[in-house]
């Protein structure tokens, strides 16, 4: 009984640890190194930021399909302002503001007008993506248009000293991702705002009857998700030192997947930010490890899917219980 309960609760986590162990054994030299992990966290930082934002709306039981487009749009807006000669700080600020506004629009559609989140954010996905195309003329903004300082941000970091003759640094993108995760953690776990979001997610009827201002909170939550998407879009643009109207599109499904993976780790199946972090790491570590093992791209796809199924099965089987 005890073992089953542990499996139920920590099934996915155990799966994650097993994945790590397999890679560590197969790649003894390169996988479990500070360098590789610093690299991996940097690679995952954009996804992490979007997934953190996604956790906010998913805590309320909603979700947001438009994050990928919002990320692309933010990158394009910043790029267009760079071209127009605005200082980087201003361009970045404007791009974040666009994200916040885009998120707020989602919030209005969902909470004030009352459109199902799936349709509302699918529609805005299309709209924001269209806007990104229109603003950029469909082209990639890159090269000299992008200020040095902006492109360098993603390349720099906090020096951590040398290990084995190689200089290590904590990448700026990783720092940003950690900071965002911390802020979202505080928001969701330590403030009335966050707790109310969980109340809405757990039983919207009960929350409403108890006087929770459901509409207002939904709006705010969606706005924050939009803001985080814009942040991720800027990180992405900085990392590729260019802005492209489709570059965020891969983020949405992965972010939702990371949150869902995390949800398999919480007792009542609610999204939790720290569990989302594990979800992101699972997705990222699989990619990193399988690439290092030089597994064929197609086989890798199959393996990623199969491993995810296995990782969550243990927890699911334990949880199945009655039905």
């Amino acid at each position: 009984m005890m073992a089953l309960a542990l499996l139920r609760r920590y099934g996915t986590l155990i799966g994650f640890v097993l994945i790590l162990a397999v890679f560590w054994i197969s790649l003894p030299e390169t996988f479990m190194t500070a360098r590789n992990w610093l690299n991996t966290t940097q690679q995952l930082s954009m996804l992490m930021v979007v997934a953190a934002g996604m956790t906010i709306v998913m805590a309320m039981g909603d979700f947001d399909l438009s994050v990928g487009s919002a990320a692309s749009l933010a990158g394009i807006v910043a790029g267009a302002l760079f071209i127009a000669g605005y200082p980087p700080a201003m361009a970045v600020g404007a791009a974040l503001a666009i994200g916040l506004a885009g998120g707020a629009i989602n919030g209005v559609l969902v909470s004030v007008i009352g459109i199902l989140p799936f349709i509302a954010t699918l529609a805005t996905l299309t709209i924001y993506s269209g806007l990104a195309f229109v603003i950029s003329g469909g082209k990639t903004i890159s090269g000299k248009s992008i200020p040095e300082s902006f492109g360098n941000f993603a390349r720099e970091g906090l020096p951590l000293g040398e290990v084995g003759g190689v200089a290590l640094m904590l990448p700026n993108l990783t720092i940003v991702a950690v900071a965002v995760v911390f802020l979202v953690w505080v928001l969701l776990e330590q403030t009335t705002f966050g707790r109310r979001l969980y109340a809405i997610g757990g039983n919207i009827e009960a929350a409403y009857l108890s006087g929770v201002p459901v509409r207002r909170l939904k709006l705010a939550a969606f706005a924050l998700t939009g803001l985080s998407a814009a942040g991720a879009g800027l990180m992405y643009a900085s990392r590729v030192a260019s802005a492209n109207p489709t570059q965020g599109s891969g983020l949405m499904l992965n972010a939702i997947a990371a949150v869902f993976l995390g949800m398999t780790m919480s007792e009542q199946g609610e999204p939790r930010i720290l569990a989302t972090v594990i979800g992101v790491l699972i997705l990222g570590v699989l990619d990193n490890g399988l690439t290092q093992l030089a597994v064929d791209s197609y086989i890798r796809q199959i393996l990623v899917g199969a491993i995810i199924v296995l990782a969550v099965s243990a927890g699911a089987l334990g949880k199945r219980g009655r039905r």
Partner: protein, 283 residues
């Protein structure tokens, strides 16, 4: 045994597969250990995968993506002294060289073909894709050529949804254009920046029973399906054969040089292209 990583977001594209195969053929001869990595359209993931293989200590890297967007990865390769070769990528100081077809020249070839065939007069539908730089420059060149002909009107400049491979959505778009322009002769030509939309347009025209109107279609890439259609002598009259195999082979040869410690002087190596029409489509 040298380890070489080939990284691309576009492995599902027919062209990419040909040069990857040609590359692998050479690699096999030379006894390299090749790791082909596809990031399914995600450009930042290309950076990540470059970092991964740098970390893993490969001897050379081949990329098939706009280098300007993966500078961070190229930089990390440079720091580790690992040479990177572009395979139909784009020029960049961080690349040892870029092996490619001349996209501008290909677009020029087909656009000029269209202009000649329709007597520099009539309505043209364009299928373009500006989000991908190598295809974007083709569209830009074609724009330029059509704009230079006062009697040619670009009826619509369509960006199809390529997530399904590009044929079906292009066909649906073309069907709508045909429906909106029902009169015979109202569409003179379809210029497509690559073959899939050309095929979609062809199917739409055939399905509408308007193949007799002499609408000229051209593509670029000469993929097998397009070649067959050109050989049939239907509306799809021309496409341009990029020598994918040649690109793959040339890229492999560039890698071989680099592995041997040589340097490559040319920042771009152009592999010649060839206009494919009914006459030469069979070979």
């Amino acid at each position: 045994q040298s380890k070489v990583a080939v990284i691309t977001p576009y492995l599902a594209q027919p062209g990419t597969q040909f040069y990857v195969e040609a590359f692998q053929a050479v690699a096999k001869e030379k006894g390299w250990d090749v790791n082909v990595i596809d990031t399914s359209g995600d450009v930042a993931a290309v950076i990540s995968r470059i970092e991964d293989v740098v970390n893993q200590g490969v001897d050379a890297i081949v990329i098939n993506v706009d280098p300007a967007q993966v500078t961070a990865g190229l930089q990390s390769a440079k720091n580790a002294n690992i040479p990177v070769v572009g395979m139909d990528a784009g020029s960049d100081p961080l690349l040892a060289t870029n092996v490619t077809s001349d996209g501008v020249a290909m677009a020029e070839t087909t656009a000029t073909y269209v202009v000649d065939r329709i007597g520099a007069k009539g309505n043209v539908v364009m299928f373009v894709f500006d989000a991908f730089p190598p295809v974007q420059i083709r569209g830009a060149k074609a724009d330029e050529i059509f704009a230079a002909n006062a009697d040619i009107k670009v009826l619509d400049r369509i960006t199809p949804d390529v997530s399904d491979g590009g044929i079906a959505d292009s066909r649906a778009k073309m069907e709508a254009v045909l429906a909106a322009n029902p009169a015979s002769g109202s569409i003179s030509a379809v210029w497509a920046a690559w073959d899939q939309p050309a095929l979609g347009a062809l199917q739409a025209i055939e399905a509408a029973g308007r193949q007799g109107e002499g609408i000229v279609i051209t593509g670029i890439d000469a993929n097998p399906q397009a070649r067959e259609e050109v050989a049939k002598g239907g509306n799809l009259e021309a496409t341009v054969a990029q020598d994918f195999t040649g690109i793959g082979t040339a890229a492999a040869e560039a890698v071989a040089k680099l592995l041997a410690g040589e340097t490559i002087a040319d920042p771009v190596i152009f592999v010649p292209t060839k206009l494919v029409t009914k006459e030469n489509a069979a070979n």
